[in-house]
């Protein structure tokens, strides 16, 4: 492992980077310095600002304040192209490759070797072959269609692409998430070869063991700020890293937890599984109880929720509501049985953005306001207005297009929909994503109120405090398995993070 050069100015210095989005400071004074030839790990919880920071670095976002120096000279990246020319390449979590093109075409996408506009396929293939050999993958044919390669193969292509641009700093956003253990070994070998040649790597991962294996130094972000910079990766204790990541500055205000409800479970999930996603998930929820699913992005939390709801078809196990089995893979059956889902991607999965609030609210229960198929508009509007008023949706005009509402109020519209449908089981996937801090406590209050009315709630959230503060019972999910189940009072953030990260496969 190459050690950072002392003396010479670091390859990259970022100082006091601020990025403001409407209503939130995604970055609030981030410092990062990366030396040539080192693997610099970037750590932080979901929402700490890692993704925004690498987008600033890639030229996709312009910082509102702060300074970036490249080899000691101040630079600004006005566009992805500018970052590219400087020598920064980013390998995103969702690979940004074109599946229908060949490997070689992908490697040289955007800077094709061409003469007079004619591509030179032979030359492309030769150069691609050389790059792939350098990366230890001579077996990948440059002419192969990219979509036919495995996820790991595609990642190698992504790296070849970074190399083809003579990148001197490569940002890797959770590169190991899609890889098998042997493929991770190979990834690390490639990373070490690159750093030996003086290339710097900024490495983002949630797996602390990986960071210990490959990283030289660690920078920790929390709530948009750098809380620790340049810690030695191999020797910093895990407990210290977790403490840095979790020490909170954002205030979470949770309503008081009522007595744990008793009574027969309304939702019973038994041995639920979906091949390749998760397996053997069992839990039950009583009326008035809130059960939280904690886990990393990609751990299978959302998949479990969507399978319970029938939006994905279970390959094993069963779901019962009030003792009656719900047909697998049928959202309609789930809704009839009394379930409701507030989906993760509110805009693309939850709302008809151009339609008015009341039509979004009445969507699942429309037939109740119809006689022989004819909608009684007055009754529909009145009922929708009543529930939106009950949830304090602002502005209080149910005929406004949903698009014009803030994130928090849009989420209330989704909740209002299921309140009107009188659902007994409410599945919430990231209910406060895109909701500003002030509106969050309102959403928390609503969830509590609904559960107080006897609704059984299943909550998925990336925000650990949210799960711990709202749920009565917490299931910790890791790589498609429930690894721990306990009442929320018995857990704290560090303990959950430990369960979620430390034991994960390397």
């Amino acid at each position: 492992m190459a050690s950072p050069e002392r003396g010479a100015p670091p390859l990259l210095q970022m100082h006091g980077i601020v990025k403001q989005f409407p209503g939130v400071r995604a970055l609030d004074g981030v410092d990062l310095d990366v030396a040539a030839g080192e693997v610099h790990c970037l750590l932080g919880q979901n929402g700490a600002g890692k993704s925004t920071l690498i987008k600033v670095l890639a030229g996709a976002h312009r910082p509102d304040a702060g300074e970036i120096r490249w080899e000691g000279r101040p630079v600004t990246f006005g566009s992805p192209h500018a970052a590219d020319v400087t020598g920064i390449a980013t390998i995103y979590q969702e690979l940004d490759l074109v599946p229908g093109l060949s490997v070689a075409e992908n490697v040289f996408l955007g800077h094709e070797r061409a003469r007079l506009g004619f591509t030179r396929p032979r030359e492309l293939d030769d150069e691609t072959r050389a790059l792939l050999r350098r990366l230890g993958h001579p077996e990948i044919p440059p002419g192969r269609e990219l979509g036919r390669l495995s996820a790991a193969g595609q990642q190698v292509v992504s790296m070849a692409r970074a190399l083809s641009r003579d990148a001197r700093l490569i940002v890797m956003d959770e590169p190991s998430a899609v890889l098998d253990p042997e493929e991770v070994d190979n990834l690390f070998r490639v990373v070490r070869e690159l750093t030996a040649e003086g290339v710097a790597v900024v490495y983002i991962s949630h797996r602390l063991e990986e960071i210990r294996r490959i990283g030289d130094r660690v920078t920790v972000l929390k709530d948009g700020r750098t809380v620790a910079r340049g810690l030695p990766a191999p020797s910093t204790p895990t407990a210290e890293v977790i403490r840095l990541m979790t020490g909170r500055t954002i205030e979470y205000v949770f309503p008081p937890r009522p007595a744990v409800p008793t009574g027969d479970p309304v939702l019973e999930v038994d041995g639920l599984g979906r091949r390749g996603e998760f397996a053997d998930v069992s839990f039950s929820v009583r009326p008035g109880e809130v059960v939280g699913l904690a886990g990393l992005v990609g751990s299978g939390r959302s998949e479990i929720l969507e399978t319970v709801y029938g939006a994905r078809k279970a390959t094993s196990g069963s779901v019962r509501v009030q003792g009656r089995a719900v047909r697998a893979g049928s959202v309609r059956a789930a809704v009839r049985a009394g379930m409701g889902l507030a989906p993760e991607e509110r805009k693309s999965q939850g709302l008809l953005l151009a339609e008015p609030v009341y039509r979004n609210v009445s969507l699942p229960s429309l037939s109740r306001f119809a006689r022989a198929g004819f909608v009684r508009g007055g009754a529909e509007l009145a009922a929708a207005a009543a529930v939106t008023a009950q949830l304090d949706v602002r502005p209080a005009d149910p005929t406004r297009p949903v698009r014009t509402l803030s994130g928090g109020n849009q989420q209330k519209v989704v909740l209002a929909r299921w309140l009107l449908e009188e659902c007994r089981v409410l599945l919430l996937d990231e209910p406060t994503r895109g909701v500003d801090v002030g509106a969050r406590s309102e959403i928390y209050g609503l969830i509590r109120r609904l559960s107080g009315q006897g609704v059984a709630v299943v909550l998925v959230s990336s925000e650990m405090p949210e799960v711990l503060g709202l749920a009565d019972r917490v299931l910790v999910v890791r790589e498609g398995r429930v690894v721990h189940q306990a009442p929320a009072e018995e857990l704290d953030e560090g303990r959950v993070l430990d369960l979620v990260m430390e034991g994960s496969r390397v």
């Binding site: 979901n46 925004t52 979590q93 959770e174 990609g298 939006a311 939850g350 008809l352 429309l366 929909r417």
Partner: protein, 351 residues
């Protein structure tokens, strides 16, 4: 336009992004509607059609100025009659497009239905069976389209293109590429009958539009059509049976083809595989200039009908003034472009 996220929002769409990054411009969340009066007017159903009414008015002024016979009752009835067949197809097309699909097969399904309903064998059973046959053929073709699209997951463009080609082939096969004369007096009389001085075909057209409008705007079926076209995934997760609904949309379009088949068989007193050539493009063009989004979820039936009337009026003007049809097609093309440019401007003023 509405689907394009601002860059700042796009930041939040990756799975690990800061949750709070996905702010939805809260500045817009409250306070009075600050959009311009024009933008607000254009946002209402009637307002969006105002432009088309203006175009229609201009065309009428041109008509009155250039041709003495334009403003006569008989000429206006001619315009309405020639609009009626395309108009009926356009009603079905509007449903399909608002629901997020497209139906390229309408012209040739109509031709097939007209041929099937006018074979010697069918005609021997009398007019009721002929009508039933036309409607059944239309709905059957729509059902095949719908099942292929909803359950077979074939792209609507391709499924209905395949239907266009095979319906054409089947119509030629059944008719032996000959025009089949309508000998049944009842069917033949439909086009020549007038009630209160207005041809019966125009009543057919009006009835289909009226029923279509009520279904689209006053029923759960219509509401769900908008929902599915606007956001398929959200509709599915709200518990709507989106596949069954999609099938029904194409059946509705097929039904309109069947009705149009009876009308064209009566008007021309023939059933022929050459009927309806390129009608699908006229119907799509009318829907588009009527303000319906090709991506679905938004649109009005009234707009589509105004679109049909604009096109038929142009054709009529050219005929009255003895101008070549080539020029007429150029004019139609220009109108489509102008209408869509105007609409995208109006949308931008009202994001």
């Amino acid at each position: 336009m509405r689907d394009l996220e601002r860059p700042a929002e796009a930041a939040g769409t990756t799975s690990t992004a800061a949750p709070a990054v996905e702010q939805d411009r809260p500045a817009r969340a409250s306070g009075p509607d600050t959009r311009s009066t024009l933008a607000r007017l254009l946002d209402t159903g009637a307002g969006r059609n105002l432009g088309l009414v203006a175009v229609l008015a201009v065309l009428c002024v041109i008509g009155i100025a250039t041709a003495d016979t334009f403003a006569t009752t008989s000429n206006l009835l001619t315009i309405l009659t020639s609009a009626s067949i395309i108009g009926v197809l356009t009603v079905g097309m509007t449903f399909v497009i608002i629901g997020g699909g497209i139906d390229l097969s309408v012209g040739k399904v109509m031709a097939l239905a007209s041929v099937w309903a006018t074979t010697l064998a069918t005609q021997s059973y009398g007019p009721a069976v002929m009508v039933f046959c036309a409607l059944a053929v239309g709905m059957g073709c729509g059902l095949i389209n719908g099942v292929l699209i909803a359950y077979g997951r074939v792209v609507p463009f391709i499924a209905t293109l395949a239907m266009l080609i095979s319906a054409q082939g089947l119509a030629e096969r059944i008719s032996g590429k000959r025009s089949q004369i309508v000998t049944d007096p009842t069917i033949a009389a439909i086009a020549s009958t007038r009630v209160l001085g207005i041809p019966l075909l125009v009543y057919f057209f009006a009835a289909v539009v009226a029923v279509g409008w009520v279904v689209l705007n006053r029923t759960t079926f219509g509401r769900r059509t908008f929902a599915i076209g606007g956001n398929l995934e959200a509709s599915r997760l709200a518990g709507i049976d989106v596949r069954r609904h999609t099938v029904l949309l194409y059946v509705v379009s097929g039904l309109c083809c069947g009705i149009a088949a009876i009308m064209i068989a009566s008007l021309t007193t023939t059933g022929s595989s050459t009927h309806g050539t390129l009608y699908e493009l006229d119907a799509i063009a009318a829907v588009i200039i009527g303000g319906t989004l090709l991506t679905g979820g938004r649109g009005t039936l009234v707009g589509s009908i105004l679109g049909v009337l604009v096109f038929t009026t142009i054709t009529n003007l050219f005929i009255l003034n003895n101008l070549a049809t080539e020029v007429q097609n150029i004019a139609k093309g220009l109108i489509i472009v102008a209408a869509v440019l105007f609409q995208s401007r109006a949308q931008r003023a009202n994001p």
